[in-house]
């Protein structure tokens, strides 16, 4: 992982407040747990039927029946619980999920999120993403600021099929921490070494800049 990404993950880990129930999407979001203290009080949820996700295990120590939603062999901790898929999403939809960290293809300035389908290219199905994005109390995106071709992911409006409308509260990227406000994107922090013109260039929508010194991460 690049240095900017590591710092982004470390910064995103501070989203997690003591006592929260949290679902971490596959990929970058999963890595935030590495930045939490060992005794930090939090409940991690995996939508295939587990609360209290313990450390990932190597193949020779793994339990063939114990995976997370991304297929990684995980473990339990004292107080873990198993349940079926209906109970798992009951938790998500009924407001018991305090926070979800998700990846994104596109985020619009009104909080719309697209992260499951690129028509004609990528359409494997949304899995649990629509419910996580529609119903978690707080939806936070972790993503590179631009896609592989260098095109901005933060846009005035999404062009891809939506996952959820107006639900993204904040974005952690390798360039910045950005809030989604009723007035659109608002810069919160800049990654070290990124300039404001660089950020504006890489952002496909207006972005409000706070007065005074801009904190970095």
């Amino acid at each position: 992982m690049s240095d900017a990404r590591s710092r982004m993950v470390a910064r995103a880990a501070r989203e997690i407040a003591p006592g929260m129930v949290v679902n971490l999407g596959i990929g970058l979001p999963t890595k935030v747990v590495n930045y939490l203290p060992a005794d930090f009080p939090v409940c991690l949820h995996s939508e295939n039927g587990l609360t209290g996700i313990g450390p990932t295990l190597p193949h020779d120590k793994a339990d063939r029946n114990l995976i997370d939603a991304g297929g990684a062999y995980v473990s339990t901790i004292p107080g873990s619980a198993f349940f079926d898929s209906a109970v798992s999403f009951a938790l998500v939809r009924s407001g018991r999920l305090d926070l979800t960290l998700l990846g994104a293809f596109e985020i619009a300035q009104n909080g719309d999120l697209a992260n499951w389908k690129i028509p004609g290219k990528f359409s494997p199905g949304a899995g649990g993403a629509i419910e996580l994005a529609q119903k978690a109390r707080r939806v936070v995106v972790m993503t590179t600021h631009c896609d592989r071709k260098g095109n901005p992911k933060l846009l005035e409006a999404c062009t891809l099929p939506l996952t959820a409308k107006g639900r993204v509260a904040r974005i952690y990227s390798d360039m910045a921490v950005v809030d989604v406000t009723p007035e659109g994107f608002a810069l919160v922090e800049l990654a070290e070494g990124v300039s404001l013109p660089e950020l504006r260039e890489a952002t496909g929508a207006p972005i409000a800049i706070p007065a005074g010194d801009i904190p970095t991460f």
Binding site: P18, P41, L50, A81, V87, A90, L91, R93, S94
Partner: protein, 230 residues
């Protein structure tokens, strides 16, 4: 990481119940009724309550204390057959009673806990229970819209709990408890035994702690929990 601790005192837990709250109460007859939480609710005297429960317990037991003290505005139940006091209060207009088919009450609560809007069912069609309910056609057949029932508070009785709020129930004391424990803003569980984290195996958990807000260990089991000698 470590799972958060939600154990608290009886008094503090019940103090979280506001006046006028809608309260789900576990139990089918005696088994699974949270008698101690109900006694404390009677003592703290929150009023204008709407109680949702399978039944109204028996005279002198459980929610009957709240009805007798005039704390209850409305009951949503499946039957009152064993409580003559509750039937009298209903007939005298002291409490409002809404009857629901037993399994549909279970499903409405479950739907509340599952974050759904409603279920569609043909149960009650051709009966009084259909009166005043929204009807939707599905493939030419009429179905009743039974709205999800989500409450301010749920009071449940567990046999075993851990401090995170993972719960397990005994025998037929399970009944409505796991459904109600998912379906309220504030879920309060009383437990006969509080074990340390890890004391309840992950596959023995019947209500995952993520749904539960407060856990109260019972210091003793009052007579109400015992065998009923009729």
């Amino acid at each position: 990481m470590k799972l958060p601790n939600k154990s608290t005192t009886l008094e503090e837990a019940v103090a979280a119940i506001p006046q006028g709250a809608t309260v789900l109460v576990g139990g089918f007859g005696v088994p699974g009724t949270p008698f101690t939480l109900l006694r404390e609710l009677a003592r703290q005297d929150q009023r204008e309550l709407v109680l949702v429960k399978n039944d109204a317990n028996e005279a002198g037991m459980g929610i009957d204390h709240l009805i007798a003290a005039g704390q209850v505005r409305k009951l949503i139940v499946t039957h009152l057959g064993l409580n003559a006091n509750a039937i009298a209060a209903m007939n005298e207009g002291k409490i409002e009673v809404e009857f629901c088919a037993q399994g549909i009450l279970a499903e409405r609560i479950r739907a509340g806990g599952a974050g759904l809007g409603a279920i569609l069912t043909d149960i009650g069609i051709d009966t009084e229970l259909a009166k005043g309910k929204q009807v939707v056609e599905m493939e030419g057949r009429p179905m009743l819209v039974e709205p999800a029932l989500r409450a301010d508070v749920a009071l449940v009785h567990a046999t075993t709990a851990d401090p995170f709020g993972n719960l397990a129930y005994a025998a037929t004391a399970r009944n409505f408890n796991p459904l109600m424990a998912m379906a309220a803003k504030q879920v309060i569980a009383e437990t006969e035994t509080l074990v340390p984290l890890g004391g309840l195996a992950a596959d023995a958990v019947e209500t995952p702690g993520a749904f539960v807000d407060q856990v109260v260990e019972l210091s003793e089991l009052s007579q109400e929990y015992g065998i009923v000698r009729r």
